[in-house]
Every structure is written in structure tokens, then in C-alpha cells.
Amino acid sequence: MHSRDKMTPLQRLTAYGRGQSIDRLPCVPIVGNTAARLIGAKVSAFRGDGKAIAEAQIAAYERFGYDVIRVFTDLYTQAEAMGAKVHYPENETAYLEAPAIEAIEQIGLLKPADPWKDGNLPQHLDAMKRVVSALGKEVAVTGALTGPFTTASFLIGTETLVRLSLKKPEAVHQLCEVAYQTSLAYAKAILEVGCVPSLTDAMSSSTVISPRQFREFSLPYLKRLVDFIHRNGRAVTLHICGKTHPIWTAMVETGADTLSLDNAASLQDAKRAVGHEVRLMGNVPPSEVMLEGTPASVRHEVRKCVRQAFDNPKGYVVASGCSLPVETPFANIDAMMDAVREIGWPVNPSDLEAA
């Protein structure tokens, strides 16, 4: 637990959920590959090494003291375990080199992944297990679970997938179903190692597909995953990047307990639209502010976010709008945490107006 905090993250989140008094708002700068720098490693060291991922995530938590640890390196782990080719640059986040298949005739060749055997999933599970064993008593540990529609886009290629969504919807459903089977198996495994799956579904964004397509191709599969996690007694966060205002209601219909929103969305509008149904999380700009800003501009943005959402009926978690860029200055992450500590609890909106 961080020396400047009075509660552990678990105590804080539990008390906050019960409407009891807390020391400050929960805060999550979403640290993914940035964690490598905490242990002096390159991002590529995470490939196939659960121990390195765990050590870095533990070191990052201990340095910054944020409220949720999320074991995450990139969005491709499930697709990779199903045959997609991923490129791992030395010190940058991995990216898709080639999808698993090239044509719809090959969809039948795809098999759901075995999270204990395929790709880098076993190493990610190993990392989660290590982090839970080290810190599970004081902080929530989640494992990133990529949404079926997003994984489907990596299986056949995004442009192909979105064209098919209008021309051959049944093929898209086949792809989403096999991606869902992988997600479900991985979600089970994540729960087994004592972690909570945290859903992330970049391609379901309204920056890419229409709200109607979200309802057809994303919502049903996300809902099945959320239902499964709920049956296991855990709450779920759903993160979707980019524009999401046209799908907030549909995102709530997935059953997710918290919506994590990108800075392309307005927290204030989200609060008015769905704040009585879900907790909100977001949305300090990861690139423009966290990467390129200064501690002063980070503080300013945090206060702006808090002003918009601290009174969200179902609660609010200060967070970055998306995973932080690898090179985000540590001083800016410290500044984000410190800004939330400075605001304290209960939040006094008139304090936020000044400075």
C-alpha cells in the first residue's frame, strides 16, 4: 500500500461500493507495457515470460499505488493462441502481423484456444497467479479478456471482417462464436488463478462499427461473457476505445458493472445517460496528457474528469482513457495519483473550480 494512502485499494473499493467513507476516489492509470520500465526491461521481455510480467506489474503497483492491477500486454493474445501472427518489436507494444486466416472458406479451420497450452496465454495466466499471490490481499487483480468481435477482427483481418458484417453476417457470427469459445475458456482460467476477467473490445467502438452492428455482433457475445463472470460472483469492467456515445445503453445491456471510457467520450454525458445504471471509469487522455503533458496538465485534467463524474450515481473511478503509452513519464503517473489524493474525500466541487 502506498505511503500517502490511508486505505488499501481493496478496502477502498469495498467501502466505496457500500457507500461508506473512503480516503480518496479510486484511481487507475491503466499501466500495461509501461510496467516494463519499472524493472528496467524492454517490452519484448514480456513475451512468453509470466514471471517478468508479474514482477513488472508488482513493481508498478508498489511505485504508484493505484487501485486495480490489470495484467495486460496487448489485445492479440487470444487471437495469437488461435493462429494469428503477432509482431513483437523490441521495446514497443506488439502488433498484428497477419490474421489467422485469409478467407471465409477457412473459418472451419479455426479452433477455440486452450488457455493452458496455446500461444502466450499460459504465461499470462502464470503472471496473474504470481500477482494475485503477491498482492491479492490488498488490491484487485484483473486479467485482460479481449472481446469476441475484436478477436474475430484479428482472425480474418479488420477490413475483411467489417465488409462481411454487411455482406455475410453469418460468417461474422461464426468467427465471433469461435472467438467467444476462446474468451470463455480463458475467462474460466483467469477466474481459476484467482483473478477477475476485465473485458476490452476495441473494434466494437462506434469509431469502427455502427450501433446496429454492435447490437448484432458484439452485444450478444459480451453479454454471455459477463453473465458467466457474474455467475462466478465477480463484477466486470468493459472497456471500449474511441467513440462510444451511440452504444452506451447497449454497453449497459451487456450487464457490465463498470464502463471504462476513452477520452473520445464525455464523462458528463455518460453520467446523464447511463450513470444511474453503471459505474464509470475514465478518461484522462493517455497520449495528449499522460504521455505528452506535464504534471500540471495531468492535475488539471484529473480535476476536470472528477468535476464531471464524481457524483455519478453508481460511482466513478478516475482512470486514463486507455492503456498508457509505454514511454509515459513516471512523474505524470505520480501526478495523476497525487491529484486524486489532493482532492480527497468527500469531493468538494467548489474546491475543484479553483485552480
Binding site: H87, P89, E92, T93, Y95, L96, E97, T158, E159, V162, R163, S165, L166, K167, S206, T207, V208, I209, S210, Q213, C241, G242, P246, P285, P286, S287, E288, L291, E292, P325, V326, E327
Partner: protein, 218 residues
């Protein structure tokens, strides 16, 4: 009713907006068979349809899947009509070199910008994705381009955009080209910081930006 250029152009435009690739191709063939003006059919039909699709995209009635299928229809029509353009009607177009910078393979955003620039009448040299900075510069020189358009979705590759601007400055070429940047993590502040000429937040905005930069005195 006999098909006239006006009715065919309107039908072509509608077919593009309706994402109907087959119908667009058939109508384009009809233009050729009837000996009608192919350039007018492109401009008042295909391009008009793509512009309407771009507006529907801006107003969030169309999304990326719809825009891609509209462009498939537009390109199918262009494939039929282009060989019939008389050489004299080839007006000299401004060239734009576009690509996703090195370290990134997300190219849908870049592709949308390319499609809308094509429709707006520019000649687009598409380098593809994961392109090293010096290839942008070399290609822009070789092609005599006016604009270099750089795209990325990954923050880790943003420095490569700055490298393009730096390479131009080092070669005393900075004034010859307008450099524009775009993509998820990019902002106007970033564009200003690296010395780019402009930033656009969406594909339609990128076209407006290019139009403004090209008409602006150098």
C-alpha cells in the same frame, strides 16, 4: 425513358451510396456503351456518391463498414470508366503521398483518408503500412507530391512522424511539402510540436485540411 447522362450520373451516385458494387459496374458499362462522357459520369456520379457517403459518415449514419463498401462500388465504377477517359481530359492533379508510419499496421484510418482523397480528385500514392520515414520523403520527391500524409494508431510510433519532418528539414525540403498527421493518439498540439502543417481528427476533416493547405500560398 432514354438514359441520359443526367439520369445515369444520378443512378451511379445512388448505387455508390447504396453500397451496390454490381449495379455501379453495370451503370458504368452503360455510360460507355451509350458513348456518354466518362469524366462527367465519374464526377457527377461516382465521386458525388462517395461525397454523399462521406457526409453520412460525418453525421454518424454510416460507419467504417458502410464507407468501405461505398468505396468498393466507386472503385468498381472507376475501373470501367477510367480506360475511356480521353487523355486531354486528364487535368493535372495534386499528388499526395500517404502511409502508416513505421511500427504500426493499423491502416483502416489511412485507407479511409485515401478513399476520400481519391474521391476529392487528388492523385494518392499509397505506400501502405509500417513505412520508414525516409521512404515518405523519397517518394514525395520522386512523385513531385504536394502533401505527405502520415497516420498512426500507436503512440510508440509517433516519433516516426517527427522524423519525417526532421528529414525534410535536414534536406532543405521542408517548404516543398505540406505534412499532415492523424490517428487515434495524435492531437493538434502534437502536430504543432513536431512542426507538421496540419492535423485532422477524421477522414472527412483530412480532405478539408488538404484542400485548405493546397490553396494556401506556399
Amino acid at each position: 425513358m432514354p438514359e441520359t447522362l443526367d439520369t445515369l450520373a444520378q443512378s451511379l451516385s445512388d448505387a455508390v451510396v447504396n453500397m451496390d458494387e454490381e449495379r455501379t459496374r453495370e451503370l458504368a458499362i452503360a455510360v460507355v456503351d451509350l458513348g456518354l462522357n466518362p469524366l462527367a459520369a465519374i464526377e457527377r456520379g461516382l465521386v458525388d456518391g462517395m461525397n454523399r457517403a462521406g457526409k453520412l459518415f460525418e453525421t454518424e449514419e454510416y460507419f467504417i463498414p458502410e464507407l468501405l463498401l461505398c468505396s468498393d462500388a466507386m472503385y468498381a465504377g472507376l475501373e470501367v470508366l477510367r480506360p475511356h477517359l480521353p487523355n486531354a481530359s486528364e487535368v493535372k492533379k495534386h499528388k499526395i503521398v500517404i502511409g502508416v508510419v513505421e511500427g504500426d499496421t493499423h491502416d483502416i484510418g489511412k485507407n479511409l483518408v485515401k478513399i476520400l482523397l481519391d474521391a476529392a480528385g487528388y492523385e494518392v500514392v499509397d505506400l501502405g503500412r509500417d513505412i520508414e520515414p525516409k521512404r515518405f520523403v523519397e517518394t514525395a520527391i520522386r512523385e513531385g507530391a504536394r502533401v505527405i500524409a502520415l497516420s498512426t494508431l500507436m503512440t510508440t510510433t509517433m516519433d516516426a512522424m517527427a522524423d519525417v519532418v526532421r528529414l525534410l528539414a535536414e534536406g532543405n525540403l521542408r517548404d516543398r511539402f505540406k505534412v499532415i498527421v492523424g490517428g487515434g493518439p495524435i492531437s493538434q498540439a502534437f502536430a504543432d510540436r513536431i512542426g507538421a502543417d496540419g492535423y485532422a481528427a477524421s477522414a472527412p476533416a483530412a480532405v478539408k485540411l488538404v484542400q485548405r493547405l493546397i490553396t494556401e500560398p506556399a
